[in-house]
């Protein structure tokens, strides 16, 4: 009961908070104005800026934050590792490679290939590679999976470094891309993210019980009639696709998938049925808060959002690492 109230409180605060945060920026709005615009009043260029720049950015930020947090939550349970996050499976390095490859093609091959598309393709490819490398006799041992992620990451990172030698003129573009940014996202990005993130949420809510059983060990899962390989497969590829879309839309945004699931576990408990909705909500809210800082702290200059999430996330992570949940057993 206490937790339901907490959840309702968080939901209300999030909704109002997100709208309130959207009033800040180079163009300032009042809450009243925002509400009127959302209800359809049109005040010319001001509402144009809000409806076509600020609002999609808000929604895309929420979706990406949610998607990464829910993905991290799923991976942590299934891999039985409280430190797992969506980037552990190699997709961040794969996406960087895709991005630098598009720059390389532009500079050396005089071909324009979409950076977002290549980032997506290589992100998914690196996840597949990680999975394929760790597969042995029909099984994916968790330690092997994590290590393959590390190896695939260093492989793609090495390739990034090599290509940068050729594409050095654009290295600054790559640098900012890799730090992540929500500037310039559009309604199209939102439309692309909505189905993937809803699907991930739906899948994870139906297999949640099995994921919890997996969190108590794979051998244990077998003895209560679960095929752990199937669950790992489902979770792995759902998270890969969602994070690849997220990374190709807004670059590398770290720590959301790592710390939000932790905070929700501390507040709600791992096996609470509000755990998943709270993870989605708080993940989205966290990214919007970070993006507001990124937009407004040194305006009109924008900070890369990945730097903001890391600045906020790293201390929280250190705190969590030293607290009981990670070091002790639960």
């Amino acid at each position: 009961m206490k937790r339901i109230l907490l959840f309702i409180a968080i939901t209300t605060v999030s909704l109002i908070g997100m709208l309130w945060l959207s009033t800040f920026g180079t163009v300032k709005y009042s809450m009243n104005e925002v509400l009127l615009m959302l209800l359809g009043s049109n005040s010319g260029s001001r509402s144009n800026i809000y409806m076509n720049l600020r609002l999609p950015r808000l929604i895309v930020g929420f979706l990406i934050g949610s998607g990464l947090a829910v993905g991290g939550n799923g991976l942590q349970l299934t891999l039985k590792n409280p430190l797992a996050d969506p980037y552990i499976i190699g997709i961040s390095a794969g996406a960087s490679f895709g991005a630098v490859f598009s720059l390389f093609m532009k500079e050396v091959g005089k071909m324009t290939l979409s950076m977002d598309l290549l980032a997506f393709v290589f992100a998914v490819l690196s996840a597949f590679l990680t999975y394929a490398i760790s597969r042995r006799g029909g099984r994916i041992p968790i330690t092997t999976l994590v290590l393959s992620g590390v190896i695939v990451s260093s492989l793609f990172n090495a390739a990034v470094t090599l290509l940068v030698v050729f594409a050095w003129r654009n290295v600054i573009t790559l640098h900012f891309w890799s730090l992540g940014s929500l500037s310039g996202v559009t309604w199209d990005d939102a439309l692309k993210l909505i189905p993937a993130i809803s699907l991930q949420y739906a899948i994870f809510s139906v297999i949640r019980r099995k994921m919890l059983i997996m969190a108590a060990g794979e051998d244990h899962a077998i003895t209560v009639g679960i095929n752990p390989e199937r669950i790992k497969f489902i979770v792995f590829f759902t998270v890969s696709i969602v994070s690849a879309i997220a990374v190709s839309t807004a670059g590398l945004i770290g720590f959301v998938g790592l710390i939000i699931p932790h905070m929700v576990r501390l507040a709600f408990g791992t096996d609470n049925r509000l755990n998943l909705p709270a993870t989605a909500l708080l993940g989205g809210l966290f990214l919007i808060v970070c993006d507001t800082f990124a937009r407004t702290l040194f305006q009109p200059t924008e900070l890369p959002i990945g730097a903001v999430t890391a600045l906020v996330g790293a201390p929280v992570f250190i705190y969590l690492l030293r607290s009981r949940e990670v070091t002790g057993n639960g």
């Binding site: 590792n81 099995k210 919890l212 051998d219 003895t223 209560v224 009639g225 791992t270």
Partner: protein
């Protein structure tokens, strides 16, 4: 008496080394079969094979008149429950959640727990006296309480066969006895059958109907308690000299080591 488990010529190896070298055994309906043997004799490997965790073995294993390899994992978990040495989830879970995992084999696809599942959960938690702390986090329980929760989870599976792998060896002698007794009493009260690996020879004698001694992946001796518990077998299996006296209270053999 019908056999619920029949194992014939079971072999398994890791690399070149054979861990089990031709095991034959059977478990009769309603009995507790105790398995003893020194570390590395293959007891736990045998248990892992029976509960479906290890699959790369050769030989024939039949469980409830059906070949083990032909069981879908969910079906196997409906007839057979496993109680491990220790159970340590990586995340904090409530006691009731853990017991509810035992209902998983009875849930179709992705459906949620139904009314009957909650009835079963309540019943097994009453039997194991764990109902009082169902809302607590598993990590806050004592070793004895944890094992009772794990027994409750195994019973919630409603299988006919229990496999227990040294499930009291982390406990102090007092709790080991109590938990061991709770489990074997429940097996008898519910008419189940059990294979139990024991660490403690005298506990095994007290709780089992028949014993199997394993050594180097083979069965060194098997039979009823009074027939096989003798100094020669114990010397052969453990390399220890022992004398067998009659326990004045239970009138069962009591093994006393003297070197």
């Amino acid at each position: 008496m019908a056999d619920v488990i029949t194992v014939r010529d079971l072999h398994i190896g890791y690399g070149k080394e054979e861990v089990l070298r031709g095991i034959d055994l059977s478990l009769e309906r309603g009995e507790v079969l105790g398995i003893l043997g020194p570390n590395g004799s293959g007891k736990s490997t045998l248990m892992s094979i029976l509960c479906g965790i290890l699959r790369n073995w050769q030989g024939s294993v039949t469980i409830m008149d059906r070949a083990l390899k032909s069981y879908p994992s969910r079906r196997l978990a409906q007839v057979l429950s496993y109680i491990p040495q220790s159970f340590e989830p990586s995340f904090d879970l409530k006691v009731e959640t853990i017991v509810s995992f035992g209902r998983n084999p009875h849930l179709k696809g992705f459906s949620a727990l139904g009314a009957r599942d909650y009835v079963v959960i309540d019943e097994v938690m009453t039997l194991t006296e764990t109902l009082g702390f169902k809302e607590r986090f598993f990590s806050t329980l004592s070793g004895g309480e944890k094992q009772r929760v794990v027994i409750a989870k195994a019973l919630a599976q409603e299988g006919q066969i229990l496999l227990m792998d040294e499930f009291t060896s982390h406990l102090d002698p007092g709790h080991a006895r109590k938990i061991g007794k709770i489990a074997t009493d429940l097996v008898r009260a519910k008419g189940l059958s059990a294979v139990a690996v024991f660490h403690d020879l005298n506990q095994a004698i007290e709780m089992s109907d028949r014993l199997i001694f394993m050594k180097d992946g083979e069965i060194a001796a098997h039979g009823r308690v009074w027939d096989i518990v003798n100094p020669a077998v114990i010397w052969n299996v453990y390399g220890l000299r022992a004398q067998i006296i009659t326990n004045p209270v239970t009138e069962l053999p009591l093994v006393v080591f003297y070197d």
